[in-house]
């Protein structure tokens, strides 16, 4: 499968990892902040 990938495909995959990872982490932090807000309101 990977043998058919050209150089620009590898370049695109390498660079797309960054926004995907940062975006996923920010979504996780937003979820955590929301959960924390709910706990703060309970206390």
């Amino acid at each position: 499968m990977f043998d058919a990938w050209g150089p620009w495909t590898w370049v695109a995959v390498a660079w797309l990892q960054l926004p995907l990872a940062y975006g996923a982490y920010l979504i996780y932090l937003a979820w955590r902040a929301k959960r924390l807000r709910a706990e703060e309101e309970e206390t």
Partner: protein, 241 residues
């Protein structure tokens, strides 16, 4: 200690904007400005994404470990909050280093992975960083929790010089350094060096942004924990067996 602000400070929005802008400039430089490499051709563009993130993973570990040392020294919970926030971002950047390295390694060296010293030490770094959160989840007492995770982070910090020098000291598929901080100088085209440094700055600013976002949550969690400790456990918890 002042309570963590619930509203979003202006400086954090500004930092996020600067980080996103610098990342876009870095991507443009890596994908358009950099010339192709004489040996690797267009694949050299993978290097800018991989190396910048790898360097910042080291920076994140250093911040986490030094905040851990400050916590061991002073016992201030704010240092523990900083340490855990930096450790989590270090885990993110460490995982990205490994995945990005595999993406770079397959087309250039024809393998995703090999258990040589450099790669194994990086995998160990990520495993220990994940271990920090597993261990923290097992300890309820905040001071002890902070002390144990600080010690693990100091061990990770101690492995970084060995990781940095592993490509020279051991047989490895990982390329030797083009920027040698131990006196070997720079063996890289000036344009490529500039593009790499732009991407390192962009990754460092992104780290600072994510660290600040995570730190806000850490401080609020700390405030909540203090409030709960003062108020005592809920009635249902008192009879838990």
């Amino acid at each position: 200690m002042n309570p963590a602000p619930a509203h979003r400070p202006t400086w954090l929005n500004a930092l996020a904007g600067v980080a996103v802008l610098s990342a876009l400039v870095g991507a443009w430089a890596g994908l358009r400005l950099s010339p192709p490499d004489v040996n690797q051709g267009e694949l050299i563009r993978v290097m800018y994404a991989h190396v910048s993130v790898a360097w910042v993973s080291f920076l994140a570990v250093a911040v986490a470990a030094f905040a851990g040392i400050a916590f061991l020294w002073r016992g201030t919970r704010r240092f523990d909050a900083l340490s855990v926030a930096a450790a989590e971002t270090a885990l993110l950047f460490g995982a990205l280093t490994i995945v990005g390295g595999m993406t770079y390694s397959k087309p250039t060296l024809n393998t995703f992975w090999t258990w040589d010293a450099k790669l194994t030490l990086t995998a160990l770094m990520v495993t220990l960083l994940a271990g920090v959160f597993i261990v923290r989840g097992l300890i309820d007492e905040p001071q002890r929790r902070g002390r144990v995770s600080a010690v693990i982070l100091i061990v990770v910090l101690a492995s970084l010089p060995l990781n940095y020098l592993a490509a020279e000291w051991f047989r490895t598929l990982h390329p030797a350094k083009s920027i040698d901080l131990t006196g070997g100088g720079v063996t890289m085209d000036p344009t490529m060096l500039t593009v790499l440094l732009v991407n390192v700055v962009a990754a460092a600013l992104t780290f600072a942004w994510l660290l600040a976002e995570r730190m806000r949550i850490s401080l609020r969690e700390h405030d909540l924990e203090v409030r709960r400790t003062r108020e005592g456990p809920p009635a249902g918890d008192a009879v838990r067996v």
